[in-house]
Structure formats: structure tokens, C-alpha cells
Symmetry: D3
Subunit: 341 residues, 6 copies
């Protein structure tokens, strides 16, 4: 089987530390041929660092000269839609950083075009590839949870407003804590439920700390330029009375600096994801089950492999274009709910 | 000042262990003259045990013969309304066990009649009198929390469906985990916010474990007679974007057997109530503040005193008739939201 | 069903604190009619204390005057055999304190006579009635352990040579740590294996600390009068290659003052008994299972009930006469192995 | 003093990471001249990596061309005997990996030839060189333990069947957990007792988990090719009633993944080896003594030095040929005992 | 031997809960004949409660009517001197509460009169009778500490200004934290050194918190009536360069509510008293020694026995009149040093 | 602004690992031109290693050829005075390692000359630049401590007598644990009090362990050549009754190997420095405040920057010449006090 030709679009940190190393580890399936970035010099430097042949500051030139089979999009959120549409138009599979886009319509358009073209569009929610999540899915499959009916999902930082990048810029990011952090745990919660669409969505967003300033744990941020939510709270209700409570924050007066977890409640058992704990009955007694030997995995590598499997038409656990569209619609409905207030 | 004459209506456990002992400790303000119960023999035995002069199985006889100034209602939830209305009609102040009633209309009627008669009607939410809650209110008053904008409140049991009493009987209790447990933490959450009425309410209720049966930690329950919710989840959104997440369960596949707590998030500081922890900034650094010497208090005694203060027109922290009506309406809206599903 | 008439033989501490209280709690099945002790005054005092009608210092008088249906033997080890034989001869069921006797032949004779008379003879190994052991047996029955092939059992004290009683007297006790402590965990180990007889037994006994003296944690003992083993170590090998490692000590230079536990290793799962932990695989991962809500039980009461069930021909978990004979034979083989050295 | 010329026989992992680095650190006493391996290319690569002059795939060529003074044998267990005999025949001192051999007779022959030739044959039991063991020996010498009469020794893995190498091959390894792991702690236990020969040996071996398969913590093993014991239990009884309980496992349903320890019980004090704890009496009270500043040592380097000391006729703590023969005989007696069942 | 007749002077709490119960436990040596208190009614009530024959409000009447052999003085500090002098004048042995007196001259006079009369005067420093202190003295005697050269002694409360009694009254108590708490640990420190007299004393006292008021953990105190030191710090230097650092507080901004300990540093070993830990070398390694089985003792009973032994001329560990005089002089020198500032 | 030319005097470890790396990080303010050491070869090697142009073994040549603007003195204590005086005479700012000198007069002379020349002389007490100390100073400035009245400061090692260098040489070092370790925490304590001069000083020094020998945790030391104190204890009393307790040791029979801390007691709050904890009242309750997100800082770099700020006349937290003279006088008074004994 010939190697797939791959190109990176967006030459920032996530390309350098996540996607390029992962792709280089799967050299038996992929040839990484080009990097395309806003700044040609930086793109070339990155390409050289990783031994990649070509560098561009222009995607059309990239498609023209390299004819990649797949591209990985690592640009700010507002560029995901135009760049993915262009890539699909050039018959490329697309592996896009999260969140899918900055509006529901964008994500829907992207999914539709991928379907129409018969190409794979997928999103990089790599928490799906942790040992904990894999075990959750195995427990679910083995019937250890019974029917899942409620999930609490949160991704909270105490003072984790990034002091760099465009994270507080509404136009480029489309939102704040929910868009950047909340989507990770929302994707998992939805995945555990086979990605349903909610009947009702209720949410609120906040920016009191972000706009006030203070001590930062991820660098110093500028409260005057803080345009997004520092916290988002939401409740989703689904058919059959299934429900999700979702909390996300860049800044919140809570204990932990970083607190990311899910609790999944089923009729037979409940799971706390990190560290993985299963609460159920064994031999007629209430039992707490720990799994002390779960391995840490390279979840980026595994998610890249899952994307490649999808491209090749194999079963895959990567977040699909359709799932991304559902998720993006929920995010939009949370913001709409919050905006009414 | 002459002593207030008090009578107990409902001769069960809560009267025996909470209200009568508390009233006997305030003998300088109250004379406990009678106990009225369904079963005259039991009522008399309880009266004898505590040295109370009279026993009745008929409230009209009680009012006729003893003319109490106040009554304490300790009967099942469905009797709160008729007995409180009757007591107010007989010009008695009323100290009623929680929840206020089994419908919003009942609680509203009760509040209206109390206002009309110029009498005190109050509910026994005694968590308000814990040292932790008093400290929370002092921190709030001292501005240590800034503006409160989000509260997470939960009262969860893993397998705490009571194996006795009428707790699983819908007609007598009006509901399950929300009605019995959730109201305690909901009252606190609302109190921290000065008891606003929500714009929107969204909730779900569950009964999968309750109806399936299994190991019980509060005796064995009968899954066939389980008519109420074993868990309730809700989200409340208030004006100015304030929000509450509420969780209550009799049975849930979670770690702790009993987990009752509130997290109160404000712009300056956040509080976890048990054990009381304040998360804020001190001297420009993120600070975690513990209070290792908070005393345990006799919260029933303090709540009884707060009720007496209210009867005498003094400032009081007891849950008022008006607050009870707001709370009961929220409970009803949660059930209505859940019933749609 | 008429009440069984019961008598206590041996008016010491174990009768006063364990057997009499347990029998009084089952007054719906047993009438406790007499106490028989060496010293008539003490026997009478004990009878009075517990409201028992008769006291004797002579078992023949007891049988003659009271005609009990069952007796409980609470005397030193060397009296178990003669008193049990006499009781069986008088057509009484016998509930005998552990160990069964001081020789294998005695225990065998007792079992034979019980069989011949069609009476119940049972031994008071009450650890069988702990929640932990009941859970072990349920796990075994549910197949969670697979085939059990090795058990480590120990009952170790660091300096627990009793400073009172006859515990260091060889003639009265028949042995030391093995006879007094080791038999408890040996009974459990054998019970988990359905009470097989070992192919081979190898053991050693020690008395260096007991004969040297030093600090005592259960009073001061007299090293000059120390005639028994302060520690016993043994290895038992059974058909199908099943094995047991057994350790017992009154005195040993080890960390814990009291360390009593069993580890049961099976092909599917392994159990550590205190606190109960199950080590196995769940959903394809190695799992540690804890049971945080095991109740403490009144194991003496439960064992007394188990004995009564046996007397009435019902299924029972009490240690039978046959099991006691097997256990006593193993104890004797351990001492014989040790004596060769 | 001229440098000793050394050669490595067996170019695998243990040579690469243990023996060669240790020998290079003692360049003032030893010149490492050659590596001999089955595969010449690999041997040469290893030699090059460490700057060693010669590489062979043939021991006769090695002896012929290099005439080493000593060899280090790092091959599979079944080659220890032929290679050691050959080396001794070529007048080389021999430092052999553990276990000594795969039969008692082999180890006895090797010891006899070494004696006959006046050469040093020693085995690499490097736990002897840990700070903990050195402290144990000092405590013993200072009389802090009194007479040692019982030792519990275990080396247990929960699921540590190696997924590589020949560890499950009976012909090459001679056995499983006992041969590979148990010998380490057996050597220490025997050493603490001055290496006596047991009067009696009783043991059992198991393979239920190894043959069933499942989750592996040291790679995945093939249950179909599993020919050795996954666990071995044994009891050794020595003159003067001294005893050892020995447990070793590749796979066992126990808590810890790796649990390697010894408990040494003496009349004056007892020691738990890891972390080193001494249980004794101080000033008339029971005392627990910890040693918080024990250094970690390079135990391989120290054992290599001990071997060199032995070669030079100096006092040494290395495991001698005679000790190795005694140990191998005990291992064989354990297997023989187990095979009867 | 005839019983000693004993009387209690001062009918407060310390008499009721400490001295009278202890004396009643030694009824084989002492007959407790009278209680003398300021208020005759209370004295009689206390006497009745404990079955003591006589009650007085006048010591002369006591001596006249009862002729006691010994008295126990349980009155405020300023009465210790007059009452002890009077008791000695009436030929009574005296067991006096701590501190000895409120001036050095008083304590010296008391000691001189006791010597002159050949009577026993002793002080109730009962920490001397704890298991920890007894073990310290045994370790010292066994040479485990070598030469003791420095001691750190502290008795600190965070907010433990008693809200009752005369503890903040300078005239009655003679001082604050040093006089009430510091003397306990100072007595131990001096005792460990064989009660030397210091060459130099340097100290400071404080009252900033006591005079400011705030949260109290031993009731509420009145900052306006706070006349004593809330904290005292001192350094004592003795011949041979031995030194003591002493810290005592009723109120200090420190973590623990009650922190009472001594560290004793010697050339061979050092001890932290609570929990007892010995830091030394064992077998050439630095060793930490714990004593997990120290018993809790009834230190008041043991100190009362020690006083009786002293009265009978036997060796005793009770604080003697001479030691009390030395201690009181040191306390006075600390206050004098502090007053200069 | 032109770069300052800097030279290092003393080419040992502290220059190599602390001062040179720090100076190289501030290359925008300083040009490091030379290293001067006793041994020219070593000085040159150090210069080469760090890319410094010149090396000398003679300070006069250094001043002659390089004309530095500042020098950093990294030599043994007895050379601080002559080298600083010489440097000031050559119009250089001086950054001198601690302690300032080996006598009070030396430090006073150095300060006077610096003042006279208008140059900066400062000492490298880098603990001032830890996050903990900066937070302490902010808390003090914010009034959170009220008036500080007592400080306990200690720097204790259990067996930390350095086995290298001149640390035990009285002539070169001027003293032992106090001179090397105690000065660090004494500087902080004085700094918290605005560097007052004590009214009274009382101290003791010891050398029993140092002269006896034993296990070392910082290499092996020679007890025969041990000329300094292994421990020093002191008490300082200042105007307004402020006091400091100071403890320092190279060797002491205490638990921790290294225990360095300060407790600062004020009228409003108290601080334990490591980990930083503030004990005070919040909202009327006793509160313990932790700061879980204090960053570790490069305190050497920050102290070097503080020195440069001082050279440029900016506000600075570096230890000044005047402070150094006060500190050195206190050290001398402690030794004088100890020498009387």
C-alpha cells in the first residue's frame, strides 16, 4: 500500500509538539511532505527541524505543488472552516484541531462537504485515546454500567487564562473556556451516550475574573483585552431523560489549579474517570473498584492512528465530522442560552 | 415577658429527638404544653417521657383545651398544609418541618394566610445554623466573596433509600430525593443569593436503582413499592445570569455513602462549605484558607431560637413563609420539567 | 416448637461475656437453665447476674436435675474431651469452645460418639461469621476466585503472651500459640478448601522469647513457667497440589502487636481478608476491589444461631465435629513434625 | 599488580547494562578484552559500543586468542554449566549469572572443578550488596538479632511473566518463578543462616494463571508456550529447628505488582528488609527502629568488586561456588517435592 | 502501718477531678478526712460527693479538729505560701499544686521550713509521671543520650486564654503563660539536667493579643482585665555551657491550638518527647527509634503515690521543695529580665 | 547605558555554579571580563568553560589590566575583608559571599570604606529572594502581621558537617554552624525587623559530635581536625522587647537531615516560612492560610539583579554593607557570650 502524503497547515506549537511527532512515528503509513504557515520563514524552520521537504505560506501553492492526500489543520479556530472546505475541495482527508469551528453552521457545512466528497474529516479530541476512556468504553460494552442516565463533566482551571496566543480574542476563538476546554469533556460525555442531540439546553457564561485581572498561573493576561467567557456552566437534557451537567473555566475561585474529570452514572455502575474508579455491586455488596495498572498512553499518536484508520475505511474511534457538527451545535446553543441573560 | 405556650403536632422521631429537646432547653421562653399524635397512646407516652402535661389525637381538642401560642408541625409532608392552615386559623405561630408542603400552591396559601393573620410561619432548615453557614454569611458580608454568580449544591446518598417510614410513598411525601434531601441544600443556595426566583428551570428525575433493588445502607427497601425519584438533577438560571446546579439522590453509583456540600463561586472568592474552605487571593497570591477551629453547634436549638426570635419580631435567620413558598415553587418547576421527559 | 434447655459448663470469662449474652438474645429458641462451674459460689454469682435459675459444681447433678437439651463447654482445653463425652452420653447437643481437644484421638472419639448418638457436636470458631468471611464464601460461590490453590494464614502477636490464666501450661492447654491462636485461621483456611486432609505436614515450634521474658503487652508472664511454644510455623500440602502456609505466635519480633489475616489465592482472583480486598481482572484490566460498607456483625451471636440451626438439622456454617477432628489431627501432625527437631 | 584480563560470554542485555559497565568502572583492576556471543555481528556491535577490542562467536577462539584470566557468563541458565566447566578448564576465574545451573549435579560439578583447579567460581546475587543487606549483617554481628530461627522470604509479581526472552521455556531455564526470582531471596535467607543444608524440604508449584493468559505487566506472554511454574511455595526446615518460608511468583492474584522482601526473626530482634526496620526492645520498651539515611548503592559494581576480591584471595561477600551448589540442591529438592503432587 | 490522715485545702476543680480521686485510689495508705474551702457550703457538697467526713471553711478549725498528717493545697497561686507555711507549722506534710508560689522568696521560705521541720513539701508536676518521661529517664540512665547539652521546651496555646477563673489576674496568679504553663515543661527540662541553677537568664514577655481580644478557644476572655503575659520567651544558660530555650503562650499566632513538647539533645542521642522519638546511631547508621506501645498512665495517681513515698522517706520522683525553690527563682529571674525591657 | 565590567575573585564551586551563571544571564547589564583564583591553571579553565576572556592569580594584575567596575568575592571567609578593602580602594562595587567577614571590626571597616568611597558593598544572602520571603514582606507591608515581636529561626543539619573544603577550620572560616548556616536565617530575621541592634545577646556553642566523629551525610569529616562549633544556640533581645531565638547546627541528634525555617510572630498574624503558612483571623474565626501556587524562583539570579540595582542607585533588597556590619557584630557577640562558658 502506497504511503499517504500529508501536509500540516498552521506552523504553531500544536503542530510542532503533537501532530508532526505523531506523524513521524507512523512513517510506515504516511509521508509528511509539507508545512504551510502564515510566515514562510517560520514554516521553513519548522520543516527543517523535522526533516520535512517543503514549506509554504500559501495553501494553494501547497495543493498545487504537493498534491497531499491528507492535511492536518492546526490554525486558530476561525480558520478551521475555510481551510477544511478548501482541503476537501482539493480531495484531501482532513484532520482538524478542536473545536470543529466557531459556529454550528460551519461545522455542518464541513461535514456535508466531506460526505459529499467521500472524504474523511475528523477532529483531534485525543482524550478519547486515554487508557481511562478505553476502559470506560469496555466497561460499558461489558454491561458493567447498565443504562447510563446522567453525566457530570467539568474542565476547570483556577487561574489558567493563557497569557499568550489568541485565547481571549472572541473573533479568532469564537469563545473562551467552553470553546477551548469544555469541548474536550463534552465530546467524551456525548460519546459515552452515542452522541445524541439534546432536547433542551440551558447555560450561563461569566467573565468577572477575566475582566478584573489578578494573579495568573499560565502567564499574565490582559484584563482589558479579555473578550470571552472565563467560565461556562450548562445543563443538557436528552431523550429518555438522559442529562449532562457541564462546567468549564479558565478562571474560577476553586481549589485545584486544573480539575478535569467526568462522572458517568449508570443503573448498574458509576465511573469516575480520573483516576478510574468503578462504583458498583460485587457478590451482593457495594464495591469500589480501582485499576492500579492502567498504562499512560501516547494519546496523540493513538488519535492520529485512529484518523488514518478512518481514512482507510476501517473502524475508528476518532471524532467524526458528524459528531463534530453535533457538538458544535450544542456549544452554540449553550452560548445562545447564556446570551439571553 | 410571659412564656409562649407551645404544642407539638406529630409524635414521631423528629419530635422526640429534635424539637422537644430543643424546646425544653429554652424553658425561659417557652412552655411546652401538649403533644398531639395520630395514636393517642403513643402521644401520651411521648408526653410522659418528656414531662409534658397534655396529649391529644385531635388538633381541635388541642386548640380548644390548651390554646397554644405556637405549634411545631412534625407530620408527613402531605399534612403540613392542612395542619398549618388550621393552626394559623387558631392564631398560632407555626414552626413546620421541611419541605414546606407538597405543592407550590399549598406553600403559597400558607404564606398568604400567615401574612394576613400577622403570624410567624417558618420552616426548619437547620443547616442554616451550622458554624459553616454562619461563617459563609460573615465572609459574604465582609466582601470576601465579591459577587456570587454560580453555586453547585448536592446532597447525594449512594444507597440511602430509607427502609422505614413513608419516604418512598409519592402521595404522602410528594417526591423523593429532591423533596427530602435536595431542599436542604437548595434552601442554602437560595439564601446565599437572597432568595431570588429563577428565570428558567431545567431538571430530570430518575428511579432505575430504586425500582431495581439491591444492597441498602439505611435498611432494606421494597423496590416494588418505590414510587418516587431516587435521584434528581436540576439547573436554575436567575436574573443577572446567576446559576445553580443542584443534585440530590437517595441512590446513585457514586463513591461516598453521604455527600452533602455546596460550592459558592464569587468574583473575589469561592467557598467549599464542608469542611469550610475559602479560595481567594491574599497579598497578591492565590490563597487557600482553612478554619481549623470551627465549633460544632446544636443547630436544632439555634434554629428553634431563631424561630422564637421571629415570633417576637426580632431579626432572625429562620426560613420564612415567603422563602418557603419560593423554594416550593422551584421544586415544583423541577418536577414539571422532569415530567415532560 | 418448644424451647431447647441449655446449660453452661465452665463459669469463666468466655461464658460471661460471649456465650451467655448470645444465648439470652435467642430466648425465642433457647431457655438457659443452669451454670456449672468448679466453684459453686462463683457459678451461683454468674447465674444470678444473668438471671439463670440453677447453679452447680457437678455436671452429674446438672444432668440429673435439669436434663438439658444442649450444653456449652467453656472450660480449659484438657476438659473438652471428658465433658463433651459425658454430655453426649446424657443425650445433649454440645457447643464446645475451640480448640476441639488436646489430641487428635480425643477429637475423633468425640465426633464418633456424636455421630453414633445422632447429636450435634460443634466448635465455636466464630471468625466464620464475620462479614469478611461470608463475603469470601459468596465470592467463591460466584466463581470470582476460580480454583483456590494456595492460602497464607497467620495470627501473630508481638508480645501477647497472656499474663493470666493457663495459657502457658502445657498439660492444661496442650500447646501454645498454635493451639490458642493458629487454630482460628487454620479453620478458615481449611473451610475455604472444603476441609481436606493434607498429604504432608511440616512444622517447627519455638520458645526463645517466651522462656527469656521481657516486656509484655497482655500483662507480665513468667518465663520460668513458660512450657508451650511462643511461635509455630507450618506448611501443609494437600491433594491436587493445594497448599497452606500457617504462622502463629504469642511472641515474635515483628511490627504489629496483633496481626491476623488470610490471603487466599485462586486462579481467577485472590483475596486478602482484613480489610477485605479482591484482586482480579475486570474488563480486561487488573483490578483491586474494596468493599467499603461491610458491616461489623455480632459474630458470637451468629455462631450460636448457626449451632442451633445445626441442632435442628438445618443447613449451618458452624464448625462440625468432623471438621474439628480433621483440624485437631493437623495440629497434632504439626507438633509431631516440630518435635522431631 | 598487573590487570586481570576479562571476557564476557553472552552478549545480551545483562551484559550490556550490568556487567560491562561495572567492569569498566574497575579499570584499575581489570582489562575487558573480549565479548563472545552466539551472533558475531551482535557481539561485535556490543564490543564496539563499549570500546572492547575483540568479539567472538566461539569460546574456543576466545580462549585461544585472548587467554583471559576471568570470564563473566551471561547466557541462558542451561549454558551455565558447560561454559563454566570449559572456562575453568582454561584456567579462568568465573563470574556466573544466577541461578548457578539447572540441576544440583551441574552446580556440584562446577564447584568441584573450581576447587580442584584452585580457581574462583562465583554467582551474581547482587542483592547481597544492597545497603539493607549490609546493615542486616552488621546488626547480626552486633548481636542485635540474637539467634535467628525463622525467615520469611518472598519475591512476588502479580502479572510479571516476561513477554520476551526464554523465561517460560523449561529446557532453557530449568524452571520459572523459583529459578528466576525465588533464588535471589533464598540466597539471602541462607546467607543470613550461614548457608546450612535443610533436613526437610516441602514445596508446591503452580501454573494456572500462566497457562490461562490475561493481562501482562511485563509485555504479553503466550499461555500456550508456558512450560514453567508461575508460582512456587516452599518450606525448609534446618537443624536446630531453624525454618524458612519461601514464596516466588511470576503471576499471582495479589496486590502489589512487585513485592520482594525478607523478614528475619531472631530471639533479640526481628528485621523487615525493605525498607529496613528493626523490631526489638530498647530501654525496656518495645522499639521500632528505622534508618532514614541508608544510601542506595550500585550493587552490581559492589558485587563485581567482591568477585575480584575473591579472585585475589581476599575476604569477600560474593556467593561462592559451594554456596551456589547448596542453593541449587535446595531448588531441586523443592521441584522434586512439588513434582510428587 | 497506720493510715495517713489527709485533708484537701481548696475545693475547686483540681481537687474534685484530680487529687480527691487519686487519694481515694490509695485508700490502703491514706484516709481522706476533710475538705476545707472558702465557701463552707461548697466544701460540704464536695465532701459529700466523695464520701469525706468533714468540711471546713477555716484551716485552723481543720488542724484543730482533724489533726491531719498531710494536706493537699489546691488554691490560687498567691495562697500557696501562707497555706503551706501554716500546714508545715502544724506538722503536716504538704502536697502543693504548681507553681510553688508567686515569688522566689516564698518558695525558698517554704522549702526552708519544710527542712527545718523534717517534713515533706512537694509540688504536683505530674508530667514527670508520664510514660514518655519515665522512658526518657531510663534512656538517660542507660547512656543512650550521652551528655545532655541543650533542651528546647515549649508549651504553646494559640488562643487558650482561659475564659474562667483568675488566670488573667496578676495579683492572684503572679503571672500568665509562664506561671501557668511554662513551669510544667521547665520543671521537666531542669529535671533532665539534675536541677541546676542557671548562670544567666534572658527573657521577654508579651501581651499584645491578650490585651486586644478576639476569638477564644477556651471561652471568651476580657481583654480589658488582661493583666498578665500572653507569651513568654526565655533562654537559660547553665554551667558547662548547658542551655535551655523556653517558650510558653496563652495566645500566639501559631498553627496548633495546643503544642507542648520538649527536645532533649545529647552527645549520643536526642529525644523528642511527644510522641517519644529517639534519634541516634545503631549499627553505624543514623537511626530513628519509635516506641509504639508506650502505655498511657494515670499520671496524677502516680504523682500522688510518689508524694506518699517521699513522706515515708522512700526514693521518689516527686518535685521536691528544693527543686520548687530553684524553679521559682528561675521564673522570677525571667520576669525580671523581661521587665527591664 | 554602558555595560558594567565585572570580575570574579575566587574560582571555586560557588563561582562556577552560582555567580557566573547568574552574571551571564544579565549580559544586558554586565560584561564578565575576568576570573582571579589562587591557582592560575584552574582560573583559566573556569574562564574558558564560561567564555570569559581573562584569568589571573593576582588581584593587582586584575585591577591593572581589566579595571573592573565591580567584583564578586567568592573566597574563604578570612579573605573577604582584605579583598573587599582592596576592591573598594580600586573603586569597584563589591558583591561579597556570606558571611561578611570573620570579625565585627572587619565588617564595620568594609562598610565604612564603601560609604566613604560612595560604592556599593553588598552580601549574597539569597534566601531574601525566595518567593516565600517576598510574600512575607508583602504580608508585613499589608499589615497582615501587625507588630512583629518574636522570631524563631533555625538552620539545623543532623549530620551535615561537610567532608570537604575548609568548613571545620577555625582560622579560615571564623566559626562553624553559626558562621556558615545560622547567618542565613539570622539575616532574614533581622530583615523582618528592619535590622535593629540587640540590647542583649546570650548564646552557647557546642562541639561534642563534631569532635567525636560518626556517620556523615555530607561526606566523612575528620573529628581530629574539627575546630569549630557543630551547634550554636542564641537568644537576642531588642528594644521594645522584640526577641529572636536562633539555632544552627552542622550536627545535632534531631530528626531531619536539613531543617531550615523561620516562625515570625506578630500581633495580627504569624507566619511559618517553609512552606509558607499564615496563621491569623479571617471573618472573626481563626484561619490557616496556605499559598499553594508560590513559584520557585532563581534566587541567585534575583539577588544578583538586586545587587546591580543597588550599584545603579535603585531601590534594592540586597543585604547592604551596613546590615552586614550589624549582623557580623551580632555573630561576634554570640561567640563572645558562648566563650564565657
Amino acid at each position: 500500500m502506497p504511503l499517504l502524503k500529508a501536509a500540516i497547515i498552521g506552523g504553531g506549537n500544536i503542530a510542532d509538539t503533537n501532530h508532526i511527532p505523531a506523524l513521524k512515528q507512523v512513517a510506515d503509513r504516511v509521508e509528511l511532505v509539507a508545512v504551510c504557515g502564515r510566515d514562510l520563514g517560520k514554516a521553513r524552520a519548522l520543516a527543517n527541524k523535522h526533516g520535512i521537504a517543503h514549506a509554504f505560506d500559501n495553501t494553494l501553492a501547497l495543493y498545487d505543488q504537493c498534491a497531499p492526500d491528507l492535511v492536518v489543520i492546526c490554525t486558530p479556530n476561525n480558520l478551521h472552516h475555510p481551510q477544511a472546505m478548501e482541503a476537501l475541495a482539493h480531495n484531501c482527508h482532513v484532520f482538524c484541531e478542536k473545536p470543529p469551528a466557531i459556529s454550528a453552521q460551519q461545522a455542518r457545512d464541513m461535514a456535508n462537504l466531506a460526505t459529499q466528497k467521500g472524504l474523511t474529516l475528523a477532529y483531534n479530541f485525543q482524550l478519547r485515546q486515554t487508557s481511562e476512556w478505553e476502559l470506560l468504553m469496555r466497561c460499558r460494552a461489558d454491561g458493567l454500567l447498565g443504562d447510563i442516565y446522567h453525566i457530570k463533566a467539568h474542565f476547570l482551571r483556577r487561574r489558567g487564562i493563557p497569557g499568550w496566543g489568541s485565547f481571549t480574542n472572541k473573533a479568532m476563538q469564537g469563545g473562551g473556556a467552553l470553546m477551548d476546554l469544555g469541548v474536550h469533556v463534552l465530546d467524551l460525555a456525548l460519546y459515552a451516550l452515542d452522541y445524541p442531540t439534546p432536547d433542551q439546553v440551558l447555560g450561563n457564561t461569566y467573565d468577572l475574573i477575566g475582566k478584573s485581572g489578578g494573579k495568573g498561573l499560565m502567564g499574565d493576561w490582559n484584563p482589558k483585552a479579555f473578550e470571552v467567557e472565563d467560565a461556562a456552566m450548562a445543563y443538557l437534557s436528552f431523550p429518555d431523560s438522559v442529562s449532562i451537567m457541564l462546567s468549564a473555566s479558565f478562571a474560577l475561585n476553586t481549589q485545584a489549579d486544573k480539575d478535569r474529570n467526568l462522572e458517568i452514572f449508570g443503573s448498574k455502575g458509576g465511573v469516575k474517570l480520573f483516576p478510574f474508579s468503578l462504583y458498583t455491586e460485587v457478590a451482593g455488596e457495594l464495591a469500589d473498584i480501582q485499576f492500579p495498572y492502567l498504562e499512560e498512553t501516547d494519546s496523540q499518536l493513538k488519535n492520529t492512528l485512529a484518523f488514518l484508520d478512518a481514512c482507510e475505511g476501517k473502524p475508528s474511534t476518532v471524532c467524526t465530522a458528524e459528531q463534530g457538527a453535533i457538538l458544535q451545535e450544542i456549544v452554540e446553543r449553550i452560548y445562545q442560552s447564556a446570551d439571553k441573560r
